[in-house]
Amino acid sequence: MQKKTIAVTVENQPGVLARVSGLFAGRGFNIESLAVGETEDETMSRMTIVASGDELVLEQIIKQLNKLIDVIKVVDLHDEPFIARELALVKVNTEGRSKEEIMNVVNIYRAKVLDVAPDAFVVEVTGTDEKIKSFIGIMGEYGIKEMSRTGTIAMTRTKKTQETNRKEK
């Protein structure tokens, strides 16, 4: 099993998300995360999809996405160096624990405490999937009361993008 991060530019129209998620469900493709949002062009939205499967399946995923009429562009981000980030909100238990110790971990991960209650913190952490997993792992030892993750969003690095653009011309 491999993982792939794919950037999909789609028409900003109702039903497009259903077409994409329906494709994954209907064809039995594994989706690890999917994040949608606006782009620089208001008629388009951008989805970042992290999918997993063997090589043939991942190739199929890209082809099938390309086949959707409302999909304008599919970019396999692994073709170039890219940046991937995710944000998580974690409500961590502080009752009977050293708040200082928890703060230490929060600082090491450059995370932020957004809300403080007598028995819990709400912490915001951003970073790569591994960083967030590792942070969650540690917080788990204190006890996670609630958690919400955005899913990965990603983009190719600037310089390389320019280079390849030049090459294509």
Binding site: V10, K63, N66, K67, I69
Partner: protein, 558 residues
């Protein structure tokens, strides 16, 4: 102009002259408009919306033009679904139009509301709900473009009632506005070169033609390439008719009920040139053991068909017609004497045959007689089951688009309405539906349509009193326990025909077959022919599911 009128003006611009449909509350403005336009667009009133969808499909397959069906919202729309899915699986260009509750009521569980775009999303190439009349003309333009280009397929347009009655100016756009849709027709030069090189090196090549060859009208190109290279051609169920049945290079159908020689040739080949085919599981048998010595060149308009089932060596994304032409011009003339010699030996040693009988009527005999009488010129639609496979094996389909069968979805109930659709397109051609006693009962109500418009289709029912294909599997793999597959004497077809005002015929003896056919074909009107065939005849040869193509079984023949 109101929305309903705009819709049909668009259809006229697209060359639509016939619509198969059934009315209802939320479609009334459209039907009213069609009533006023009756000398421009013919509406064929069916008896069940599924019939309308299959008729549109049969019309499309036989002509190459778009088939159009029309239904009301809710139950009318859901009744179309099997027909849309059938067209989708076989890549048939079709436009399905449905009425919908007014936009103000959508989402309220209004009377006869169904989320038909949601329901048909996985079985259409694309679908639309028109929420603003200003988008209507552009939507129709886009829909036709999508349905007919690239890998064709059905497109549904959902028409809320208010959009049908609202008014706006009509102007049909010249071009679609689809920035995310650009099918690629030309094969990549480098890939073509690689393919040509593989072909030059190959000693035992075989051409494997699929439905895409029919859809893109590249039958001529397949035959030209085959003849230049002197290589055998095997066709899928969907590609029957792309090469003449008696062409010396034609190996007939491959796969589960294909010919032994086609399957042997595939298994022994060192190069498969696949064109417009998709390596369906009924074709490959056990994928791991499929064509173990062969490199594969795969030509297809749909990139997602390539390397989906089998990893290929040279993928060529493009229109089969364009690519085959290019390839033919790039390769040198070849002979492949030894290979053709071997293939011909298989043809001689393992012919496609059956054991005829004087006491029982054999369906294969009927197919042979039919081909003899029609010289393979008739349009033949089939239902699904054993009779479909016998038709594929023993009917001589001499022209592309003369063979209408539900391959991908395998829809019982397809054949009869499809034959009506073809007859609507070609009033003067002989159109035959080869049916089973089970399948024909799935859309038998369309006899009323055939009679009403005098579509003189000839329905030949291979009446074995069984859901025969199910029974065959039960005989072979389920200990002869014929669970729910015996439908003996379920109905008197002659009386059914009579009740609908069609002609019914009962044929029980071999000696009567030819006479009955001649009589039926000469009759100016629909005929239902009830052939009482050998009840437990099986389709041979056969590759059991999961077995390799080289391991065909054959009962009672060997």
């Amino acid at each position: 102009m109101n929305g309903a009128r705009i819709l049909f003006e668009c259809l006229k611009k697209e060359g639509v002259d016939t619509i198969f449909g059934y009315p209802g509350g939320q479609a009334l403005p459209m039907f009213d408009e069609l009533y006023k336009m009756s000398d421009e667009i013919k509406i064929v009133l069916v008896r069940h919306e599924q019939g309308a969808a299959h008729m549109a499909d049969g019309y499309a397959r036989s002509t190459g033009r778009v088939g159009v069906c029309l239904a009301t919202s809710g139950p009318g729309a859901t009744n179309l679904v099997t027909g849309i899915a059938t067209a989708y699986m076989d890549s048939i260009p079709m436009i399905a139009i449905t009425g919908q509750v007014p936009t103000s009521l959508i989402g309220n569980d209004a009377f006869q509301e169904a989320d038909i775009t949601g329901i048909t999303r996985p079985v259409t190439k694309h679908n639309y709900i028109v929420k603003d009349i200003k988008d209507l003309a552009q939507t129709v333009k886009n829909a036709f473009h999508i349905a007919t280009t690239g890998r064709p397929g059905p497109v549904l347009i959902d028409m809320p009632k208010d959009v049908q009655v609202n008014e706006t100016d009509f102007k049909y756009p010249d071009v679609p506005n689809l920035r995310g849709y650009k099918p690629n027709y030309e094969g990549h030069k480098l890939q073509l070169k690689k393919a040509a090189e593989l072909i030059e090196k190959s000693e035992r090549p075989i051409l494997y033609a699929g439905g895409g060859v029919i859809l893109s009208d590249s039958s001529k190109e397949i035959v030209e390439l085959a003849e230049k290279l002197n290589v055998p051609v095997t066709t899928t169920l969907m590609a029957l008719g792309c090469i003449a049945p008696d062409h010396p290079l034609n190996l007939g159908m491959l796969g589960m009920h294909g010919t032994r020689y086609a399957n042997y040739a595939v298994q022994e080949s060192d190069l498969i040139i696949a064109a417009g085919a998709r390596f369906d599981d009924r074709v490959t048998g056990n994928v791991a053991e499929f064509a173990p010595h062969a490199k594969i060149i795969h030509i297809d308009i749909d990139p997602s068909s390539i390397s989906k089932i089998v990893k290929v060596d040279v993928p060529i994304v493009g229109c089969t017609k364009t690519v085959l032409k290019a390839l033919t011009s790039m390769v040198k003339k070849q002979e492949h004497k030894e290979w053709i010699g071997q293939v011909n030996e298989w043809k001689r040693d393992y012919p496609l045959t059956y054991i005829d009988s004087d006491t029982e009527l054999k369906p294969q005999y009927i197919m042979e007689k039919l081909s003899e009488l029609t010289k393979g010129e008739a349009i033949i639609a089939t239902e699904v089951g054993q009779h479909q496979m016998w038709a594929a094996q023993f009917c001589r389909i001499s022209k592309p688009r003369n063979w209408l069968t539900s391959g991908g979805l395998g829809t019982m109930g397809y054949g009869f309405p499809a034959s009506i659709g073809a007859q609507a397109a070609y009033p003067d051609k002989l159109v035959i539906c080869i049916a089973g006693d089970g399948s024909i009962q799935m859309n038998i109500q369309e006899l009323a349509t055939a009679v009403k418009y005098n579509y003189p289709v000839k329905v030949m029912i291979m009446n074995n009193g069984y859901l025969g294909m199910v029974r065959q599997w039960q005989e072979l793999f389920w200990g002869k326990r014929y669970a729910s597959s015996n439908i003996e004497a379920s109905v008197d077809f002659v009386k059914i025909a009579d009740a609908y005002g069609a002609r019914g015929m009962l044929i029980e003896k071999k000696a009567d077959v030819e006479k009955a056919m001649k009589e039926a074909f000469a009759y100016n009107g629909p005929v239902l022919m009830d052939f009482r065939v050998a009840r437990e005849e099986n389709v041979w040869p056969m590759v059991p599911t999961g077995a390799s193509l080289s391991k065909m079984i054959e009962g009672g023949l060997a």
